[in-house]
Symmetry: C2
DNA sequence: TTGAGATAGATGCAAACGCATGGATATACG
DNA sequence: CGTATATCCATGCGTTTGCATCTATCTCAA
């Protein structure tokens, strides 16, 4: 008590930032990322959760990359045969991105190994109830107010 | 209920990752970063919390940058007059980094504006009790087990 | 229908990154 | 004391990033 709401918000954000940095560093140190960098995995993982092909613009919103950076990363992932890019029949400007079978396979393989690391790093520090609470709070935090009306 | 602990851990981590990405993107879109990029601010902010000069190695641990990337960022920040680099009298290999007065000034200025953004983005979504809980859970998460014995 | 403005994605280019490595100093051990 | 090994930071180099900009397409109003 005594801390203003603003101070509380900043302290919580800094704690989240620190937790993110610490865990990312520890995860980056594992042997999981030999065939796929974390950023590349992030793109494939996001795609893997989309039942249908997605617009590149949509992907940019969910991945921490600028639009040109994503565009070129897509080029590279296409070159490696992991994703496909097709014109959007509903919008001549847009492209639709989707995982190929090899792309889905490598995402599953890397994702499986990564999930083990996550569990090892997180399980020792938070119990199930805390994990659920953290998940709920982060979901609230991630609520994009401009996205609700869609 | 029904989700295994591993599943819980992965879901919580994904939620944290998403919250981080969403908020970072929204913060990056503000006018705060004209004179200092977020990564540069991160370095200056970390330095600002150190009462004494810090070793570069120590800074690398707290900032999400590789050692060479930090080394060069330090070069640039020195060139702009924001930080100072001196040899460590206790260890001929090491360097000690510290904020200069202009560096402290710009960190305070940018930090002040940034804090307003943080408060605006976070306050609407979590109440004070939730903020405190989130901070506590993130602190637990960030506990580096290899750092306790120092 | 057409012309102005908005939006999607690609590309040129300089800046910044990570990996591998090098030179210098500290530490451990015979 | 001397040599092997580890640690710290800087630098070479190829890759990736972000900013600005370009082209193409869509939207909407006159």
């Amino acid at each position: 008590m005594g801390r203003s709401t603003s101070r509380l918000a900043n302290d919580a954000w800094e704690a989240l930032l620190t937790a993110h940095a610490v865990l990312i560093k520890q995860m980056a140190a594992t042997e999981v990322w030999n065939e796929l960098s974390m950023r590349e995995y992030d793109v494939l993982y996001t795609l893997s959760k989309c039942p249908e092909p997605v617009r590149a613009r949509e992907l940019t919103r969910h991945v921490l990359l600028s639009q040109p950076a994503l565009s070129r990363m897509v080029d590279r992932l296409i070159g490696r045969g992991f994703i496909a890019r097709d014109p959007d029949p509903a919008d001549g400007r847009g492209v639709l991105l989707s995982l190929t079978e090899p792309g889905r396979a490598i995402q599953r393989r890397v994702g499986g190994r990564h999930a083990v690391d996550i569990a090892c790093l997180v399980r020792d520090r938070l119990d199930p109830a805390e994990l659920r609470t953290l998940e709920e709070l982060c979901h609230k935090l991630a609520t994009d107010d401009n996205e609700e009306t869609s």
